[in-house]
């Protein structure tokens, strides 16, 4: 920052709008909103340079509560709208807020293709494993057998794992966090915001009305340490209340081992978020309760040129090769003739 610029330091509250927040009391969305404002303030992103785009669903009310430019669009299409915003003005910081229904069901196609193009946007997918705004139907991430209003005998839809999908779609940044673990949530949001390219975060978010306790196994005081493993780059995968368990690779299979009795940290799987090959990140994305502790943190963070940079490069190289566009020569391109 140059000395003659007076930059007003923004606080989290400066990112609040005058709108009443209308999520249900006790909803996990409140914690995510609070952390988002904190991270925005911490990063010093000017409010006018921030565009928050959403689709439809509880999570998609997010833009109304952030003092920035916001677009609450139609169901499933936030990724496509955000792509247009970013391509039209690559200087902007563009965030997408979506949910398991909006992002993975009706909007699944746009999610895949935006990720593969690596458009520089930050995607927050609130996963509560239920349709909340339409009052409680099973979603693409609801477990098999889940009884809801639309599945009274239990869901017969096999669920998909958002992070496996993102990694399969060639994501350059993939992470998972939990609404109630606010410190970790803030850290992940900040990492995602700093990443250049599509950052995809799955946030376990509790819907206390239609699917209360869905993530109790990783949030409950007595069980969370046994059922979650927090990833750190270049560190072994250790978990448990006493940090006495770890994940070891047996061929292609992760297995739980107890430390001691000849097993040391060096025998464990070491996390490498920068691995070019996505296999490790994919393997981690398959670890699932109750068979294994679920990894939290940054699964993958690699560099690849962004879509909008490549596009702007093409515009630049076209200008260099052909000169700045000139309408007269454009009109006269191809064979012309003159009538006197």
């Amino acid at each position: 920052m140059s000395n003659d610029t007076v930059q007003v330091e923004l606080k989290p509250k400066d990112y609040a709008t005058d709108q009443d927040v209308r999520w249900c009391p006790g909803c996990g969305d409140y914690a995510i909103l609070a952390q988002a404002k904190k991270v925005l303030a911490g990063l010093g992103i000017p409010r006018e340079n921030l565009v928050v785009v959403s689709g439809i669903g509880c999570s998609s009310r997010f833009p109304y509560y952030i003092e920035s430019y916001g677009f609450h669009s139609i169901h499933g299409r936030a990724m496509a709208i955000a792509t247009g915003v970013k391509v039209a003005n690559p200087e902007l910081s563009v965030w997408v807020v979506t949910g398991d229904g909006d992002g993975l069901s009706i909007g699944g196609n746009h999610l895949l293709h935006t990720i593969r193009r690596n458009v520089d946007i930050t995607v927050l997918l609130f996963n509560n494993q239920i349709y909340g705004l339409t009052k409680g139907q099973y979603s693409p991430t609801s477990p098999m057998g889940k009884k809801t209003k639309s599945s009274p005998q239990g869901s017969i839809d096999f669920p998909l794992r958002p992070l496996s999908v993102a990694i399969g779609a060639e994501a350059t940044f993939v992470a998972r966090t939990i609404d109630v673990n606010v410190k970790h949530l803030g850290y992940i949001l900040e990492r995602a915001a700093r990443h250049k390219g599509t950052s995809f975060i799955e946030i376990y978010q509790n819907c206390n009305i239609f699917n209360d306790g869905a993530f109790e196994y990783v949030t409950g005081k007595d069980v969370k340490d046994e059922n979650a493993v927090y990833l750190e780059h270049n560190k072994p995968l250790i978990f448990g209340k006493d940090r006495d368990k770890g994940i070891r690779l047996n061929g292609m299979k992760p297995e739980i081992v107890s430390l001691g009795n000849g097993i040391t940290e060096d025998d464990l799987l070491f996390h490498d978020e920068k691995a070019e090959d996505p296999s490790l990140a994919y393997l981690l994305s398959r670890m699932h309760y109750p068979n294994a502790p679920e990894p939290m943190g940054v699964f993958r963070c690699v560099e690849r040129p962004t879509y909008e940079d490549l596009l702007m490069d093409q515009i630049e190289s076209s200008r260099k090769a052909n000169g700045e566009g000139d309408l007269e020569s454009l009109f006269a391109s191809g064979e012309t003739w003159t009538v006197d």
């Binding site: 109304y64 430019y69 792509t83 915003v85 746009h110």
Partner: protein
């Protein structure tokens, strides 16, 4: 009739030269036979010669249907004349058929006494069977009504290309140019433009350039030398307004118009599109011009195409999406979002035969109702329709003028006939083009009302990145003024009326309707879109025969020019030709309470002038049409 002497260098033979005012030629063959290329080459040569030209290609949806099959026939029709043209012609004066399948699918359009040139070598037993002929149709009695020329094009072409050393497929690829050379001789076309094209296209492959040159010249000299052609034809130059010209198709004109609009406003052009026939050429054309800051985005589907476009519009680009009827169906919800968020957006719909996948490569006008009504809620959208390929340029600019002046989405309806049809286009003077002035509110610290309105009811186009103007938009109903989500019943009704009034207000800034013929009378023919040429020519002919008929062409379908109602009432009868089952006619009847009658054709083919002439005559004679 003129008698002149032609020479081939050695012998001298008499060839009659007949002057004629108009010739319609159709090349047809397998889709891999290069018929489109032969046709476009002859178009350029004719335009440079000084004739007026109008063309229409007709190709199958299959890229390479089995060789020799009926499904694989590709055609290109060229009309050239010594007077001004408006259509590619009704019946064909000369048909060049490269195989039996091409003959079978096109012979019905050849006028009695017309010239029929066939590649006799292709009329083998196998090819006849593929076309469903039991016997060689060229031997049939019916052929005597035509001037039939059975020419062994394969053999002759192979002979003239012998010196290049090329064989097989490489040689047969040149046979379209042999046929073209022959037609050039027949109609006195200059070979130079095509020779120049060969040079620029195949400059890097001298052998191929040589073979094509030999084929073209071989065909030409064959016409001159062979005793079988006793007559050739000349079409004198047309009286065309002076200026510099190029050939332009509707899709290219649309692309150039979009680039121009963005340039005139000093904006980047964003084009989000998913490949679809017959609109893809707009994407191809725009992708070539990135040095104009054209940002093309090939989306993963139609919905992403329009949503990315909406995002770009919100962010301040000149944003446009292009598609055809099936794509509009997929974009409907997002068009509604554009109406609700009041963002400037252009949607180009190149109509094709429907419903569903329909006839992808054929033309139709059956998406008018979809453009007008195909959305949930009260959702008015401005609709424009150019009448000629060249007019696509002007209407693309006009679409952006309206979109940005009123902060609305605009649908520009073209069709396959305009998109692929081509005509000479007088290159406009850049300085004479209309300016498009776009305003964005400046940074403010005193609050901002995203749904405040100007005299035209347009809301401000506030761009992300502008300090102090942060605001939220979306698909939920807005409170007028502050734009916050609002479920208040009175506000909803007020906003419904406001959006409607705003779009209807566009009628205040569009030009009045031009009359062709008289201001009042017995019969008024009302058209829209690509039927302009056929309608106007038919009305012209009927008036020359003394009939009391006039016409108007509606380029602004919604809102319509304010004078339409009054014009309709000054005529006793109203006839509306459309390539659908009567969509505009239904609108005119409902809106103006006139007893308008439809003249409808839905064959995937444009109207012929004679179709409309017949409709006019029948209507004036009190017969049902």
């Amino acid at each position: 009739m003129v008698v002149s002497t032609q020479t081939d260098g050695k012998s001298v033979r008499q060839v009659k030269v007949i002057e004629t005012s108009q010739v319609t030629v159709r090349f047809c063959g397998d889709s891999g036979d290069g018929m489109q290329l032969a046709g476009t080459q002859m178009t350029t040569a004719s335009a440079i010669f000084g004739n007026d030209v109008s063309t229409f290609p007709d190709f199958p949806a299959e890229i390479r249907a089995p060789a020799g099959s009926l499904a694989g026939v590709s055609g290109f029709q060229l009309n050239f004349s010594s007077h001004l043209l408006r259509t590619p012609g009704d019946r064909v004066t000369a048909l060049i058929a490269m195989n039996p399948a091409a003959l079978k699918t096109n012979i019905a359009d050849l006028e009695p006494g017309g010239i029929l040139v066939v590649n006799d070598d292709a009329f083998s037993k196998t090819n006849l069977a593929k076309a469903g002929y039991d016997e060689n149709p060229l031997d049939a009695a019916g052929m005597s009504q035509f001037k039939l020329f059975r020419i062994p094009i394969d053999k002759l072409n192979a002979k003239v290309c012998e010196s290049t050393g090329l064989t097989g497929r490489a040689v047969s690829r040149c046979r379209n140019f042999f046929a073209l050379g022959l037609v050039y001789w027949l109609y006195g076309r200059p070979m130079d433009p095509t020779l120049r094209w060969i040079e620029s296209k195949f400059g890097g492959k001298p052998v191929v350039a040589e073979a094509n040159t030999l084929a073209l010249k071989g065909g030409y000299y064959f016409g001159e030398t062979a005793e079988m052609f006793p007559v050739r034809y000349v079409v004198p130059k047309a009286d065309i307004p002076p200026g510099r010209y190029r050939r332009i198709s509707g899709n290219v004109a649309t692309a150039l118009g979009l680039i121009t609009a963005a340039r005139l406003a000093g904006k980047p052009l964003f084009y989000g599109s998913y490949p679809i026939t017959p609109a893809s050429d707009i994407l191809h054309e725009l992708a070539r011009y990135k040095n104009f800051d054209v940002r093309t985005f090939q989306a993963e589907d139609e919905i992403s195409a329009i949503c990315s476009t909406l995002g770009a519009a919100y962010t301040g680009n000149f944003a446009v999406t292009g598609t055809s009827g099936p794509g509009i169906a997929l974009k409907s919800e997002a068009i509604g979002l554009a109406v609700m968020t009041e963002l400037p957006l252009v949607i180009v719909c190149v109509q094709r035969g429907g419903p569903s996948t329909g006839l992808p490569t054929k033309t139709e006008q059956a998406d008018l109702n979809q453009a007008l009504f195909g959305r949930n809620g009260e959702c008015p959208v401005c609709i424009l329709a150019p009448a000629t390929p060249g007019e696509c340029f002007d209407m693309a600019i006009e679409s952006f003028r309206i979109a940005t002046e009123y902060m609305v989405p605009v649908i520009m309806l073209t069709d396959g006939y305009l998109a692929n049809g081509a005509e000479p286009w007088r290159i406009p003077d850049v300085a004479s083009l209309p300016k498009i002035e776009v305003k964005h509110p400046a940074a403010s610290e005193n609050g901002f009302l995203p749904y405040a309105r100007d005299a035209k009811l347009a809301r401000p186009w506030a761009l992300p990145g502008t300090p102090g103007l942060q605001h939220r938009i979306g698909g939920l109903e807005k409170a007028d003024g502050d734009g916050n989500v609002c479920y208040d019943p009175e506000n909803h009704e007020h906003m419904i009326h406001t959006r409607q009034k705003k779009v209807e207000g566009i009628a205040e800034t569009i030009p009045p309707t031009e009359m062709f013929g008289d201001d009042s009378g017995e019969l008024l023919v009302v058209g829209w879109g690509s039927t302009y040429g056929a309608i106007t020519s038919a009305v012209e002919r009927c008036r020359a025969k003394g009939m009391d008929v006039s016409s108007i062409h509606i380029r602004y379908l919604y809102p319509m020019p304010k004078d339409i109602g009054a014009i309709l009432k000054r005529f006793k009868k109203v006839m509306v030709p459309e390539m659908n089952l009567g969509q505009l006619v239904q609108l005119l009847r409902a809106k103006f309470l006139v007893d308008a009658k439809g003249l409808n054709k839905v064959q995937g083919k444009p109207f012929m002038i004679s179709d409309i002439e017949r409709g006019i005559e029948d209507t004036l004679n009190g017969k049902a049409i």
